[in-house]
Symmetry: C2
Subunit: 133 residues, 2 copies
DNA sequence: ATTTGACCTGGAGTGCACTCCAGCTCCTAC
DNA sequence: GTAGGAGCTGGAGTGCACTCCAGGTCAAAT
């Protein structure tokens, strides 16, 4: 089973332009073509694109994804460097998560402040009625 | 106590150019100036910059930070909108963390694969010796 | 046979968040 | 009084990751 570029885009969540762009910058190998010269993406192509998008969501720069892609073409001999890239990326992701959690604390603190302000405002609004009663 | 732009940069981790840039785009109010026309950042300025950088690390676009900054100038009347922005950002951060955790699973899976390959390689290297012994 | 719609190419354009630069002023130290 | 260093301004340039476009091809449907 193969997929047209439109189907590949739908399945990967990337745009058609991005798929062609990834090919241009040699992030992916040129997919096969049909008789009309149109790209046909294999299941493997889709899987690789899926992995790449996972790497993208970790914030890996395309530069590094390209290196990984290039190594992948180099076969088993490049496995240790590839592993190294992933291990480093995992470290980055863990750092990023910790950083986000830190920011989350700040957000929660600020939000709590605003809730306190809301409570105070409600108190001020209620007060005159209490005084009137 | 006030700080020169160089000190403010050091304290906030932003560059001098970024500080001036933030001022230009009205993300921060123009700081006071000394007699020579040089910027002098107050403790409050530094605190606000610190909060802004926290927001930046959450991935909040500068566009939105500008809106928040503008609201802040608007005083208490804008508190509920400001809170709303922070609550939405908190949701985004939680999503982002979940997404990163998902990517982490993929990375761990791949890394485990590479480790398995390494073990297999070691086995292949060891085998001839075993045969020889 | 022609219209339609998906896809093709090379190249230009976009938005974001900075970052750098030239040419200037101002204060401090010698 | 002059040399050096920090800071000033307006504006241009950068890197990244797309995104869009014009002008063309190709196959299927009418």
């Amino acid at each position: 089973m193969t997929y047209s570029i439109a189907e590949a885009a739908r399945r990967t969540g990337l745009s058609i332009d991005t798929l062609r762009y990834y090919e241009r910058i040699e992030l992916i190998d040129p997919p096969a073509r049909d008789t009309g010269g149109r790209r046909t993406y294999s299941e493997d192509d889709i899987g690789w694109l899926g992995f790449l998008t996972k790497l993208r969501t970790t914030g890996m720069p395309i530069r590094l994804m390209r290196e990984y892609a290039k190594l992948r073409r180099g076969g088993p001999a490049t496995a240790s460097r590839r592993k190294q890239i992933l291990v480093e990326q995992r470290r980055d992701v863990l750092e990023r998560i910790a950083e986000l959690q830190g920011s989350l604390d700040v957000l929660n603190y600020k939000i709590t402040n605003y809730e306190q302000i809301e409570k105070d405002m409600a108190g001020l609004l209620a007060a005159p009625q209490e005084a009137a009663s």
